[in-house]
Symmetry: C2
Subunit: 345 residues, 2 copies
DNA sequence: GCGGCATCCCAAACCGGTTTGGATTAAGGC
DNA sequence: GCCTTAATCCAAACCGGTTTGGGATGCCGC
């Protein structure tokens, strides 16, 4: 069923039918009603491809997922995409996903722009120095960043959580429990979120008059076995940490496993705190929290980023939206007072 | 830069330029070379939307992700998508993701078909009785199923792992270690993969002359807290299981957590075996395996499904591809001989 | 020298919508 | 009764490609 067929059926021109369906004022109320009724009855749906070509609007949003060297796919990705996808579907937009080797990321964006495949993109996992901002500006592709680059107040729309503050608070929480040797099992510090978390951690240590121990600071892709290996190794040190702060619940589970293997009781012998993205496969309504955590839903972030981008596309010169969310600090059973004999002399 | 502009630049017609670029034989070798050179020099890229409209080919593959009632997004999804996405990108196809509430899943497919948005789809997470097969046939939308419905030999292209065999072998492995009370912490059994796994488990028990205990069989969405709650509960039974078989590494981690909390040593006091999809955030090259597992990479499955679908689209009447992969049984430290005092009298 | 056959290229139609610039008709004002 | 204006509707152009159905040119054989 095409527009022309529908028009012939109604004895109207394609123009009128198109206008009737799209709510233009040039068609009479009675005609419009007839058209809408007929369209519904015949299950007419306008061909998006034709519409794209005619209007120049892509009616789609792009997400470029670069595969890093080690081919890891960011675990938070699925929940974020789910959140954003809900919004797109409700708004009649398509979601275009482009999975490319990291070196081809720029060309993936360039292609989306040159071919008008999308009306905008959401930029994931910003680095401290992120070349994509400049690139997208040159391409004239509207974007919203999930996170920020290294700058405190960038000049583009973004939604970020206050990573520095979250990790400062989490560190302060551990310090308040008497911990002095606190390990930071961080994500890759080229990523601005990890960079900020480290700064929050360092700030808290400094405020407490403690010098950071490089041996207690690790940075790597956030996988479970990484958390395990890092914790196992540190627990074998002559002067082991009494608390761990990790960048992801996945890493925290790895740390927990190592703690158990060492015969230690989490929350008593060793404390573990983490950031928690509320990933759906690690959470269950009603289940008690496993870890003390700074919590912020990545799914909600996906939803909100999508909304911001759609608004931006609808009103390109509207006010620039920048949101900084505070993570909640949720107490859990994985932290407790530092044991006397473990405390630093 | 449009085709027409390029044609004018070259003093050729749009027809000739189009043919030259698409490798049709009607243009001379010298002309073709000139066209290709000019296209490259000016960075010409054909507008995919226009091409879609003209050819009727969408040059895109669709994935519909239904959000279940509990809003959980399947954790294996990210890795599968990454695998498939690599193949699409390399082949010049787009990936269209549609995230919809479960009840709207049929209309999501209908829309993709009616509007010619995609050339085919990959169907995820088939149920034992799956209505999508009939629907996609009616819509005339080519598809490849990742998994199978309840039938042993369906009449559509699919890629599945031999879930029944894998779980029979895993169960036999535990039986061989002397375990008699083996718990099955399964996924949702409306899903055909979970259904088959249960049958594999039951087959092995029956072959060993054991009657299944309904108390030891759980079925639910595969989340970490589910594994934890299920195991914790069963370990409190008067006659607790001595071994757990779980449907996902995520669930296995939950079980492991409960085992540790009960003060038991995995692989000694209690055994844990699981299926392992080789999710990227749970694996790390060189790290020793955590669990004894039936292993099959979901990422590789994503790649292969994409290949099968692209082949199917290129040659709709070629031979129907149906692949059944065997999972590897990987021994790990999480299983060991059943303790005497725990053995069933 | 002429018909036949490739070879190479092009004008125009087409995909299915949207949008511009009227044309037609009816209502309103004086 | 005539002119203006508003209300409706339409034909045709357009978006940027692909594809059909020739047309022109050059080479061949006889």
């Amino acid at each position: 069923m095409t527009l022309k067929e529908l028009a012939r059926l109604l004895g109207l021109s394609a123009t009128t039918v198109s206008r009737a369906l799209n709510g233009y004022p040039e068609v009479g109320a009675e005609t419009r009603a007839r058209v809408l009724e007929a369209a519904a009855r015949h299950g007419y749906e306008p061909n998006v491809t034709a519409r794209r070509l005619a209007t120049g609007r892509a009616l789609a949003i792009g997400h470029v997922i670069p595969l890093a060297e080690h081919q890891m796919i960011n675990p938070i990705f699925a929940d974020f995409i789910a959140g954003a996808g809900e919004v797109y579907s409700a708004a009649g937009y398509d979601m275009l996903l482009s999975v490319v080797p990291e070196p081809e990321e720029p060309s993936a964006y360039a292609q989306m722009a040159a071919q008008n495949k999308v009306d905008g993109v959401i930029v994931h996992a910003p680095k401290v120095h992120d070349v994509r901002v400049e690139m997208l500006r040159r391409l004239g592709l509207p974007f919203v960043m999930h996170g920020r680059d290294g700058r405190e107040a960038p000049d583009y729309p973004f939604l970020d959580i206050d990573n520095r503050r979250a990790f400062r608070r989490a560190t302060e929480h551990l310090l308040g429990l008497g911990h002095r040797r606190i390990a930071l099992v961080n994500g890759l510090e080229a990523m601005s979120f990890a960079h900020r978390r480290r700064h929050g951690y360092l700030e808290a240590l400094r405020a407490a008059g403690l010098a950071p121990d490089p041996q207690l600071m690790r940075t790597r892709e956030m996988r479970e076995p990484y958390g395990h290996a890092a914790a196992a190794e540190m627990l074998r040190m002559p002067d082991p940490p009494t608390a761990f702060l990790t960048a992801s619940i996945i890493v925290a589970f790895g740390v927990l496993r190592a703690v158990r293997e060492a015969g230690l009781e989490p929350g008593r012998d060793v404390s573990i705190a983490t950031h928690d993205d509320v990933l759906s496969h690690f959470s269950l309504d009603g289940a008690p929290p496993v870890f003390t955590a700074t919590r912020s839903s990545i799914r909600a972030a996906g939803r909100r980023c999508a909304e911001i981008l759609l608004d931006l596309i609808a009103a390109p010169h509207g006010p620039q939206v920048q949101e900084l969310w505070q993570a909640e600090l949720i107490p859990g059973p994985s932290t407790g007072p530092a044991l006397r004999e473990n405390q630093h002399a």
